[in-house]
Amino acid sequence: MSLNTKNLARFQSLIALVILCIVLSCLSDKFLTVDNGWNVMRQISVNICIAVGMTLVVLTSGIDLSVGSVLALCGAITAGLLKNGVDVPSGDLYIGFTLFGAIMAGLLTGSAVGAFNGFTITRFKVPPFVATLAMLTIARGLTLLYTKGFPISVLGDHFDFIGTGWFLGIPVPVWISAIVVLGAVVLTNKTQLGRYIYAIGGNENAARLSGIKISKVKITVYALAGALAAVGGLLVTSRLDSAQPNAGISYELDAIAAVVIGGTSLSGGKGTIWGTVLGAVIIGVLNNGLVLLNVSPFWQQVVKGAVILLAVIIDKASSKNE
């Protein structure tokens, strides 16, 4: 019985999405075109990467507010290393980076920052909201320090391929977000770590007494969220061919919105990656539709907020019937 209602809840957002698409294609002849379809998918790929990481964190009943800043920091580091390398003036030393090396450095930075979040949360019992709020500011500051406040641009065709290229007729960012999603689906459903994530979110005490190392799992989860924010950073930087020091501002909110619309409980232990993907698609389609319909950007924000509220209210109402 619980399986049926779960499916129904999943269908609810799916139905909402279908209705949204039908309405938009009636209102705008540009909406239901192949080009626009790829366009939407390319746009949401960044949010999907971040939101998948956010889902893992939220499942442990945590939250990560730092992802937007981490995205900017990692994008800047990859761009900076790719373009300028590391120059040590005193030692007359210059280290150049290959494309692969620069990307790895970006991803490692993201993981390290995330792991640090996990460390402060588990070791010093700082509430996740506070720990990652602090990191939001710290990472943004580090980005500004590293870039000295200026964009790092013109990064070369190879790097730009990540954000703008096509592979087998599908945009590369869509490939990347698809891999992220499938990886996370397997992680949450088929691995020990996935089980532990749900167990900790469901009841941390019981998980601890079952011999699960809570700190290890949480640090891993926050590191994954950081790494996925870094992937988002690569996509953004590559698409613009430029690392902006103020990239990714308020991206954490879009990610949380996708997670919540997707039916994941903010108190943890309940939710799915597919739900989050659906949430991200709904937000993406909505954004796209409002732009196509020439709705004022000010109204766009109002509508987006209203949709988030509506989604959660419907979700609450339907889970009550369980």
Partner: protein, 501 residues
């Protein structure tokens, strides 16, 4: 006074109450009995306005009433004191008692003095000599209960429903509570008393109403019935309470605990456990009895590695000194703990049966980094069968199971680690007599199979039923030790009462 007529309440898929009728009399303590799932809680929730939709009628003083929420019920004079107390720990006694019905002066400001005076009066009527400004969080559980009762008296409630009021308080607090109940009864109030503890009911209750499977079975005078008859009515058939008559073998101990002590996490100079040493043999059931605060739970937790950094002493398993910094290490060494509060510490209620059972052994249920779900399912089926867990399937959510079956899942989870030593903390709290007996049987079977078992309990009959040997604790020390033959309610209780009182 309060009459329920033909009450039926359906939940999706289950009929919780079917055509239940009963009469509750003023000036009496009306006991409601039944196994878990018999419908006691549902009935009480209907009487107190938590469930507004049901079939049937409720008459209060001869008039039909229909409460839409607990507030309305309370205004009509029906108060319920839940098993889990509903007080705000960071507010004072006065603030809690007046919560939602604060007295104000003509300026709309809180009238603190008037509220304090009335609280003072209520407290002295209930013989609780404590400053009304004390924070509720600083009170003992028994005292908090008195505050709940005071809250009910503030609105002049004539019907007071108490759901398992003694499940969390000490014997001496029970005496105080019974004094209060007797007094309220003599004032002519309707007391509805729900409890599993039959001994208690014979002490305090005047009338009984037995529920079984959502139906009223019988009602009558407590004086006219015996304990065995009551049990038969609750369960619907005779049950034999198992007795452990085995004599402990004198083998080398599987677990030996030497000079365990434990510091209070906040007050470092206070000791929660002082120099505790004991041995446990293979196949032995060791009962540990103590009143609330004796340090029983802390002892098990310390052995299990939960108080790393605060504890001292050594633990030997099979003659080897071991030291654990986490439950994971303790389990690897062959110790398992069934915690006191299964909902808080034992289970992930929102996950299914097989996930909960498999949680302790996931590392060995993997193939190439992925979970072997077939193996997980197999493990769950094995324990569903051997522990006779009543569930529709291994994919059923744990929160939908009864207390007894939930407890068996916690047990299954522990047994899955193949422990040499099984520690159970209050293994039968809040579960019905049938399930209790099944758990006792399991414990004895496990011991017969060579496992060393420690059972911590605050229920004397339980300790006397299953233990080969009994340790008594008071104020963090072991104060006495008895063999099964020597142990009696008297000498155990005598040793358990703190000397500093």
């Amino acid at each position: 006074m309060l009459v329920a007529q033909n009450i039926t309440k359906k939940f999706p898929g289950v009929i919780a109450l079917q055509d239940v009728s009963m009469e509750l009399y003023p000036g009496k303590v009306n006991a409601i009995l039944g196994e878990n799932g018999a419908g006691k809680s549902t009935l009480m929730k209907i009487l107190s306005g938590v469930y507004p939709d049901y079939e049937g009628r409720i008459l209060l003083r001869g008039e039909q009433v229909n409460f839409n929420n607990p507030r309305e019920a309370q205004n009509a004079g029906i108060a319920i004191i839940h098993q889990e107390l509903n007080l705000v720990p960071y507010l004072s006694i006065t603030e809690n008692i007046f919560l939602g019905r604060e007295l104000t002066n003509s300026w709309g400001m809180l009238n603190a003095n008037a509220m304090k005076t009335r609280t003072q009066r209520l407290l002295s009527r209930l013989k609780l000599n404590i400053d009304p400004d004390t924070l509720v969080g600083d009170l003992k559980v028994g005292q908090q209960q008195v505050v709940e009762i005071a809250k009910a008296l503030l609105t002049d409630c004539e019907v007071i429903i108490m759901d398992e009021p003694t499940s969390a308080i000490t014997e001496s607090e029970v005496e105080v509570l019974f004094g209060i109940i007797t007094e309220l009864r003599n004032e002519g109030k309707v007391i509805v008393y729900i409890s599993h503890k039959l001994d208690e009911l014979f002490k305090i209750a005047d009338r009984y109403i037995v529920l079984r499977d959502g139906k009223t079975i019988e009602a009558g005078e407590m004086k006219a019935i015996t304990q065995d008859e009551l049990i038969r009515k609750m369960v619907g058939r005779d049950i034999n309470v198992i007795r452990n008559n085995k004599i402990a073998s004198a083998e080398a101990p599987v677990l030996s605990v030497q000079h365990i002590n434990l510091k209070h996490p906040e007050h470092k100079n206070r000791e929660l456990l002082k120099n505790i040493s004991f041995n446990l043999c293979r196949g032995e059931v060791l009962g540990i009895f103590g009143l609330m605060g004796a340090g029983r739970t802390e002892l098990l937790e310390t052995i299990f590695g939960l108080h790393e950094g605060l504890s001292g002493g050594t633990v030997n398993i099979d003659g080897q000194i071991v030291s654990f910094r986490s439950p994971g290490e303790a389990m690897a060494a062959g110790i398992a703990l069934v915690p006191e509060d299964r909902k808080k510490d034992g289970l992930i209620l929102g996950l299914d049966v097989k996930t909960n059972i498999g949680l302790t052994t996931l590392p060995v249920m993997q193939r190439m980094g992925f979970l072997n779900e077939a193996k997980e399912q197999q493990l769950a089926q094995k324990y569903i069968g051997s522990l006779q867990i009543k569930t529709s399937s291994a994919s059923q959510l744990v929160k939908n199971l009864s207390g007894g079956n939930q407890q068996k899942i916690v047990l299954a989870k522990c047994l899955a680690t193949n422990p040499k030593v099984l520690m159970l903390d209050e293994p039968t709290r809040g579960i019905d007599i049938n399930a209790k007996n099944e758990i006792y049987k399991l414990i004895l079977e496990l011991a017969a199979g060579g496992m060393g078992v420690i059972v911590v309990s605050s229920e004397l009959p339980e300790i006397l039923t299953i233990s080969d040997r009994v340790l008594v604790m008071a104020e963090g020390c072991i104060t006495a030790q008895f063999t099964a033959a020597e142990a009696s309610e008297d000498n155990i209780l005598k040793a358990a009462i703190p000397k500093t009182l």
